[in-house]
């Protein structure tokens, strides 16, 4: 079967991969790059456990073929921690009891991170829309929202204006 050559940056590291036509980004991350923080919960984009940030946007890595991604940049939960320092969202999830079984947590964090990168001060509705595609069966979402809000309320940086889509 013909392989496709793909240059991919994952958590700041560059990789050149030869992938098959069926290989999903999820498989590449988990199986090749051993980034098992990315979880598979449904395989059809309904649960959000496999959420990663692809070129700045939260996506379900089960619904992307790696062969489509030449030149792309991916961030997974493993990429949130910088030099041993937790991302404020990770710390907030610990502090606010936003974690129970933890299986949805990596995807949830990535959806929240993608939101805050574009809109550092979202309101509760915006937070809910950002994580509506991340199912959680344990927490009832309440403490997850509280955790994200605690980070969203912080910081002085101006909210990015992401209303306008700039085609360039």
């Amino acid at each position: 079967m013909k392989k496709i050559k793909v240059n991919l940056t994952v958590n700041g590291k560059e990789f050149t991969l030869e992938v098959g036509p069926k290989e999903r980004l999820l498989d590449t991350l988990r199986e090749r790059l051993k980034l098992t923080g990315v979880k598979e919960g449904c395989g059809i984009g309904e649960c959000g456990a496999c959420t990663v940030i692809l070129n700045g946007e939260a996506v379900n890595s089960c619904l992307v073929l790696t062969g489509q991604l030449d030149g792309s940049e991916v961030i997974t939960v493993e990429g949130l921690e910088v030099e041993g320092r937790l991302d404020p969202l990770q710390q907030a999830f610990i502090d606010h009891h936003a974690v129970q079984c933890g299986f949805c947590t990596p995807g949830m964090l990535m959806s929240a991170r993608a939101l805050l990168d574009k809109n550092p001060h979202p309101n509760r509705e915006e937070i809910k829309r950002a994580i509506e595609g991340n199912l959680c069966r344990c927490t009832g979402y309440q403490q997850i929202i509280e955790a994200i809000e605690s980070v969203a309320g912080k910081g002085e940086e101006e909210g990015a204006d992401y209303f306008e889509w700039d085609p360039d």
Partner: protein, 774 residues
Amino acid sequence: MSFNKVNKSVKRIDAYEKVTGRAKYGADLKFAGMLYGKVLRTKYPHARILKIDIKKALEYPGVEAVLTARDVPNNQFGVIIRNQQVLAGKETFYIGDGVAVVAARTEEAAERALELIEVKYQELPGIYDPEEAMKEDADRVHKELPGNQVIHHPLRKGDIEEGFARADVILEREYTTQFVEHSYLEPEVVIAVPHEQNSLVTIYGSVQNPYATQNAVASVLQVELSRVRVIQNHLGGSFGGKDEVISSMAARAALLALKTNRPVKMVNSRDESILESYKRHPYRMKYKVGATREGKLVAMEIKAVADSGAYACQTPFVTWRSVVQATGPYEVPHVKTDTYGYYTNNIYTGAMRGYGSPQVIFAQESLMDELATELGMDPLELRLQNIYHNNSITASGQRLDNHKVSLKEVILKAVEASNYREKYAEYNKSQSGDKKRGIGMAISFRGCSLGAEAVDAAAAIIHIQKDGSLDLYSGLAENGQGLKTIFAQIAAEELGIDLDRINFMEVDTSIIPDSGSTVASRSTLIGGNAVRNAARKVKAIIAEFIEEEYGDEFGFKAKDLIFKDNRIYVAEGKDVGDIKEIISFKEMAGKAYNAGVLLSAYGWYKAPEISWDEETGQGNPYFTYVYGCQIAEVEVDTGTGEIEVLKMTAAHDVGRAINPANVKGQIYGGVMMGLGYAIMEELETEEGYIRNTNFDGYLIPTVRDMPEIIPVIVENPDPVGPYGAKSIGEPTLELGSAAIANAVFQATGRRIRSLPLNLERVLIGHSLSKGGNR
């Protein structure tokens, strides 16, 4: 009472691993030489297997083994009744039955091999409705059994005829509930490793109940228990769901591992998970209640029938809990209940958070509101007139006298927090527009732990290293609910050390004694007492050692020592709180080690005695109870059938909250699971086939479905529980459906007696399905 570590919202000790992606779940594990296992499942819910040809599959490159029922030493397992097949031999009984298993070097090869297995089936007619199954002349699902009845639990109290004769009002109603999927986010995983460290086979994976899995695998392989070692991993949710399905999966993986002499990993896809794993029992319930004009309950007669599906699984126990809770937390002098489970060719049913209570509570708490309407009473007042107090006698004849019966307190706190009375009056007025609001409540009492189901005891090990750090083992398993943190808090409280010194070990059946299953909201209560017991044993050893070393010098006895802040003190002076440090915990550990003192202990806790008469349903089925009240406020779109749950107030007496933030987490999660049960979740089956096998068809609540949730923690310490703690996991989800149904009734004037309250039932009064109306 003041505490240092318990009754505090300390952070979860497993959160760091989980937020960084470091936590390893079953699917994340790999072993050298590992193969991938896959299951071929039946094409038909009920069929005779005429022939299986595995030749082509075996020849496929990369395939290492293909096994069928013939290769299973003992093909029947089960916790209560052993009639579940590891692999279907002659006959398939439901659509999730496995027919063959394959191990191959890649997942793709394993999947390809499944396509190459040729099976000849003879499709057979099946029974898909318990009402059919119970008929005298019905075909038997299991030919070797005398009939289709799995179980019948009778309960008789007083004289039912006399009771109804005294009633001014008698209501008869029928309620039904649906199949529900646990929907843990992590699909099932098992890895079987052969001949690892002297065990015949070691099982890793998403195991809820390591001992149940160990027992099943040993029994299937026909080997001794010590030859099968089960080590738990981080578990991505379970809610009662990763028990028998994991046992079966572990047995299959073990067979493949032993056949190939290589580790075998089996990971279910979501579709496989929903197709094979057991569900919450659907119930059909006939309730008849008699009351005086003043609203005093005098008699209740109940017939409840549960669909057990193809196997017995936990039906006998699930239905037993229904018996105890069926009349609700109400004083009823005359009670007759009959609770049944029947075999069908539907997907089998088993344990799920709530365990037989959500069904009967939906019925009985809906019925209380129907009765209130009939009597022209406020539903709250009707309840308050009939609820349990201390010294009330339950339907099973138990006098509630050994703990605080706090139901009234719980109800009134929920009423206050939800502003129930004002809202109820407001929504009773006529409302303009299509969108109507309503408020409704449901209450319950719930027996803690296993009750008369099984032996109720658990173990813990505390092992102090020579630097004073500590390993804590428990026979009960972290499912995501927070057990590790709660147990660590208890150990830390007793030994006066910080939580970061405690390393919580995953369950390993070769190290810690069988502690039963992590079920029945029993872990804090039973397991917590075991941890406390272990900690107190070690503490006594330490105190004795310190007395020996320093007692003469400082003039104290072992009993005078105070353990806190990672140090050991002795009281000094007259004022309370005046203390003098003797030694740090760390230094003590080093000295004790050098002195040859054993700083490890097993803790064991066995629950107080209970009793049960299976003939009459009388006895003391549980040694203590918890009480809860949930109040739902809804807005119903009477033009489309959509329900928006606006607010849920959930008041629960937990005895003592070991970790209040954790208790809230249980409440939020349970409320949302109850909401899903009430308005959207339903496994759609048709003649044994399952229509919705993934999360696009089986819908669970998203964050946008979340109402405002007001948790109200009520604390009345229990004399038996550790620090007075009891249960919280299950009570949180058993009340929502009735509360919501009652609120919907107030909003619309329409009583819906079947779950879920989906678009069709709300708008047109009945459900629709492709296979015809139901």
